[in-house]
């Protein structure tokens, strides 16, 4: 937000429409969830207040803990691969010309494909009977089958997420790099800096802003992933690729356990807030120090 802003409480009129619409599509549903989470709902006319019972039950539920650990593993793997890969890809991009435009469009394309279509594309691509990837791997002598091998399912999901989202990191990093003044590169060259030093001391500090956003977005979105694994593996084989959203959807829509599902939702939401906040404040504290 700009620094020289005028103080005027009438500005509330301007935010009123946004408040109303977010209250309608955000606050009312969230309050409904809170309301569910402290009740045992047998049907819509018979319900009992149960306090924090569902919260205790969810945190003790081994299936929740498993899904949670899988989720952390998946998000960590996604961040470890996508952030460095995105930066390298961005550094390889030409800065202008038709080639740059075409590359931009190619990079942005996966971001604009509906998420279930992303799942379907990878299903068609990785299936051991008709998929280019699946058939090729089997021809090479690897018995690849993501529907029966948990490890293969994991690797396929990871490969799909990298395909789907690395572009976002790359585009953010590319935009950050275009803001590095040419003079900085010349100065570094005069000082005889190595390629690595140029990256570490000239580019990386200027990329910090966009990279914070990239990590935050990838962290939040990978933590909420639902549609792509739903289409590709359906959470299987067994429960090995069932992440939090998947488990929640089964509980809420499949089994109609409203109370426990609501408590689950609240815990889930709080975790995402907590992770984002921890990351954000730790980065910002470093900023204050330096």
């Amino acid at each position: 937000m700009a620094q020289n802003r005028v103080k005027d409480n009438r500005a509330w009129i301007g935010v009123l429409p946004v408040l109303l619409i977010v209250a309608f599509s955000g606050v009312i549903p969230l309050m409904t969830v809170v309301n569910y989470s402290v009740q045992d709902i047998l049907d819509f006319n018979t319900r009992f207040f149960v306090g924090l019972e569902w919260y205790r039950e969810t945190l003790d539920d081994p299936r929740f803990v498993d899904a949670f650990l899988r989720q952390i593993g998946f998000s960590a793997a996604v961040l470890i691969v996508e952030i460095p890969l995105g930066i390298i890809v961005a550094r390889g991009m030409p800065t202008d010309g038709l080639r740059a435009s075409l590359l931009l469009v190619l990079l942005a394309t996966p971001l604009l494909i509906p998420w279930n279509v992303v799942g379907a594309i990878w299903q068609i691509y990785a299936r051991p009977d008709i998929g280019l990837l699946g058939v090729t791997l089997n021809e090479l002598g690897i018995a690849f089958n993501y529907t029966s091998e948990p490890l293969h399912a994991w690797l396929t999901l990871l490969a799909m997420d990298i395909w789907h989202w690395t572009s976002l990191v790359a585009l953010l990093a590319f935009a950050g790099l275009t803001s590095v003044p040419a003079a900085c590169y010349q100065a570094a060259e005069l000082d005889g800096a190595s390629k690595w030093q140029v990256f570490r001391f000239v580019e990386l500090p200027r990329l910090k802003g966009v990279l914070v956003i990239a990590v935050l977005l990838r962290l939040m979105d990978s933590f909420m992933i639902y549609t792509e694994p739903f289409v590709l593996t359906g959470g299987g084989p067994g429960n090995t690729t069932t992440f939090l959203s998947q488990y929640l959807a089964t509980m809420a829509v499949g089994q109609f356990d409203l109370g426990p599902a609501a408590a689950f939702s609240i815990i889930y939401f709080l975790f995402i807030l907590l992770f984002s906040w921890l990351f954000y404040t730790s980065v910002m504290r470093d900023e204050d120090r330096s």
């Binding site: 700009a2 020289n4 802003r5 005028v6 009438r10 509330w12 301007g14 935010v15 946004v18 619409i21 977010v22 309608f24 599509s25 955000g26 549903p29 969230l30 969830v33 890969l85 890809v89 550094r91 390889g92 991009m93 590359l103 469009v105 190619l106 394309t109 971001l111 604009l112 494909i113 509906p114 998420w115 379907a120 594309i121 990878w122 691509y125 008709i130 998929g131 990837l133 058939v135 690395t166 585009l171 953010l172 950050g176 590169y185 390629k195 580019e203 966009v210 956003i213 933590f223 909420m224 959203s245 929640l248 809420a252 409203l258 609501a262 939702s265 889930y268 939401f269 995402i272 807030l273």
Partner: protein, 269 residues
């Protein structure tokens, strides 16, 4: 200025191949018949057919799905941008009671997993009679497109000097005239980027769109999951529908590509 090393250019090339291969495979599948797909494995379709595409363009279930999707995406974009414009303007120009808290509270909505809201949304929209209409999906998607729009627009508007506001006031223009005739045209590219992202996030979403629609307003992404599982796996038609859902994205990116880098550079996306 030459920042790209040989290694990163090779990585870029490899990454592009990695991006293209699944898309290429989707296209070849769309051009083949089901018997052909099941029978032989081939890199280039030897008997290309357009029957799958024809199926989608002639079967009302499929093309109606496209119309439904586009109608809630457009509705959502209109609502999001029109409510976000005044809010972003006051966030960038005024200090007021609770402004910071409000701004960050808005952003937390972007972090709410849609799965959390499935049941409440279903109940809410059923009780006010909006269930199975494009408007219900459009309003539900506002949960993440409105905070995002405010965030992007505020980023751009903060970069516009406040002297412009003062000058318009001195010239005796009304606020309404200033806002619509002077301020909004300055922020053209900001609005372009915002429209792009609203369009994008609404177009790709499945979970809420599926929960809030029945048979009337069924969007294309849902038709893909339901029709296909009902009639066994029809890979060819599924792939053809996939190709059709990829195309609008490519078109939109091509038109906003320059603004896009600018929007990303603000770190607000």
């Amino acid at each position: 200025m030459n920042r790209s090393s040989r290694v990163s250019r090779w990585v870029l090339l490899g990454y592009c191949v990695y991006l293209v291969l699944p898309l290429y495979w989707l296209l070849t599948m769309a051009l083949r018949s089901n018997a052909d797909i099941a029978g032989t494995f081939e890199l280039l379709p030897s008997n290309p057919t357009f029957a799958n595409f024809a199926e989608i363009l002639t079967n009302p279930v499929w093309y109606q799905g496209f119309v439904n999707s586009l109608s809630y995406v457009v509705l959502n974009t209109l609502i999001s941008v029109s409510v976000a414009l005044p809010a972003a303007y006051v966030f960038s120009r005024y200090r007021f009671l609770g402004d910071r808290q409000l701004f960050f509270w808005l952003l937390t909505n972007r972090m709410a997993p849609p799965a959390v809201f499935l049941l409440p949304f279903f109940q809410l929209y059923s009780s006010i009679g909006l269930f199975d209409t494009p408007l219900a999906v459009a309003l539900a998607h506002c949960l993440f497109t409105v905070p995002l729009s405010v965030w992007i627009l505020e980023g751009f508007m903060s970069g516009v000097p406040t002297e412009i506001d003062d000058m318009a006031r001195i010239d005796g223009h009304s606020f309404w005239f200033f806002f619509t005739r002077i301020f909004l045209p300055i922020n053209r590219s900001a609005i372009g980027v915002t429209v792009f992202f609203c369009f994008m996030f609404s177009w790709v979403e499945l979970l809420l769109a599926r929960t809030l629609t029945g048979s009337e307003a069924k969007p294309i992404v849902v038709v893909m999951t339901r029709t296909v599982s009902a009639s066994g796996m029809d890979w060819g038609v599924l792939a053809a529908a996939g190709v059709f859902t990829v195309l609008p994205g490519i078109l939109v990116v091509w038109f906003v590509r320059q603004h896009l880098v600018k929007g990303f550079a603000l770190g607000r996306v």
